[in-house]
């Protein structure tokens, strides 16, 4: 199977791919978008709101890359500023208050890299999400639909259940970044992609995700219906266990990585 990790990276980044908005439209009804972090601004790289999953109210959050050049510019190519993470956290706390499950769609090359982002505490914004999501008293499910770029992706993926699409990637650093740091040569990105074990299969093997979502019938209605059924089943199961037990499970899910006895 070796030699194809970078092909998957290219697929994960390809512009023809479904973005967050497509998943929201395909899976939920009556989505109503809620804007702003109530602190500073509204980040258009992150979309969030309330919707129905069948007949169950849920909170949906998605990192949105945009479909065409204009949208992509406007949405900063799906690279959230601190306000994006703070909006997401605001909506998650709201979901907790109203006992709504949270569903996140993750697709980012990473948190936005800029002067303003640093001035407004990009690191803190991510850190706060990691802390708060770990103890959010409502089920959280995250699906990586394209790129899962480092801390910027993890900040919406501290969940009870995490899934990846077949051609999504999840990585601590971009293959280009890794190659340029390790070998001072970003053209060796394909080699770095192999080393980083960033495909859905790798993530499943490492226990980072619960399952892989097949992209076989992506053009058919079954694709979104399949995800919808999966979400409903998960929420039903998570809803049937006491909150404290669910939170222990979530803690232990992440506690297990690199645990040595």
């Amino acid at each position: 199977m070796s030699g194809n990790a970078y092909d998957i990276v290219k697929k994960a980044r390809s512009s023809g791919r479904y973005t967050g908005i497509d998943f929201i439209k395909g899976i939920f009804n009556h989505f109503f978008e809620l804007h702003g972090d109530r602190r500073f601004a509204d980040d258009s790289a992150v979309i969030g709101g309330v919707a129905y999953l069948e007949n169950m109210p849920v909170t949906v959050i998605a990192i949105e890359k945009g479909h065409n050049a204009r949208e992509r510019m406007q949405r900063l190519f799906g690279a959230p500023n601190p306000e994006g993470y703070r909006k997401a956290l605001r909506l998650m706390k709201q979901a907790e208050k109203f006992a709504r499950p949270v569903i996140c769609f993750v697709d980012t090359s990473g948190a936005y890299c800029g002067i303003g982002a640093e001035e407004r505490g990009q690191g803190l914004a991510i850190a706060e999400n990691l802390c708060e999501m770990m103890t959010l008293k409502t089920p959280v499910i995250s699906i990586l639909i394209g790129e899962g770029g480092s801390g910027g992706a993890l900040a919406l993926s501290v969940a009870d259940r995490v899934y990846m699409l077949e051609n999504a990637v999840y990585s601590v650093i971009s293959p280009e970044g890794c190659a340029s740091i390790l070998w001072k040569d970003s053209s060796k990105a394909a080699d770095a992609a192999e080393c980083l074990k960033l495909t859905a299969k790798d993530a499943l093997r490492l226990g980072v995700i619960e399952d892989i979502i097949s992209e076989d019938n992506m053009e058919q209605p079954e694709f979104f219906n399949g995800i919808k059924d999966m979400l409903i089943n998960d929420i039903r199961r998570l809803g049937s266990i006491p909150t404290e037990a669910m939170l222990d499970e979530r803690y232990n899910r992440f506690r297990a990585f690199g645990r040595s006895e």
Binding site: E118, G121, G123, I126, A127, M134, T135, F254, F257, S260
Partner: protein, 287 residues
Amino acid sequence: MPILDFLYKPKNELEKGGRAVAPIQADANEPEKTCPNCHKAIPLSRIWANSNTCSCGYHFRMSARQRITFITDKGSFMEMFKEIKSGDPLGFDGYKQKLETVRAASNEEEAVICGSCTIGGTRCMLFVMEPNFMMGSMGSAVGERITRTFEYATEKGLPVVGFTVSGGARMQEGLISLMQMAKTSGAVKRHSDAGLFYLTVLTDPTTGGVTASFAMEGDIILAEPGATVGFAGARVIEQTTRKTLPKGFQKAEFLLEHGFADAITPRRSQKSLVSMLLKMHCGGDAT
């Protein structure tokens, strides 16, 4: 008066603690180090006697062991979790050899040292990251040691003091490194929810996945003068945005100005300040 000393003029009696420059007579043959700030050559013994700072106020990097000696009460530090070492979970090309080389060169097994100690008489858990071990990068062992430190502290009702220095998540452990951000944050959150005190001291440099997890999660966040602290690397930001970065970008002073640190604390006043803050949060009387 040295320029930086003037800038960090003590604001109260406490901050004046131990500011005297040790009058050590240098031996003529003693090795020297040039200060990158004032460009003077300083004998190593004098740098050490001033907790690795130059008389101009410049803070040299400090190994974890040096820091432990200088911040803890004499003889109180008991190292814990040292048996936890990084494996090679991905079979990453060249990582095993790299670990061996770094272990031999740094004389440390991992990029963080944890344990229990007293500081100014208050018992606490302490973690200190090691710049000489892959620039304090966080892999599974660093994440595990820090997580255990917090879990132990939560169980025993102890505060945690942490000195951070890190280039971020360790890429050779890929997703397992990334997951350490969530794992450590979870442990910090449980410690916090138990009503316990956590103080971080950000030192040069603290970046990437460590900034975006336990470094910024302290109840009180102190930073060393001149320390670079940020999420994205300055060079990457410059390349991505094609903008010239403002002077002092991502320095401790920038953090303070933008509201992400409580105070800038020179090394010479760290022990007295940390001691006081620990006492204040752990039921001690003012002295």
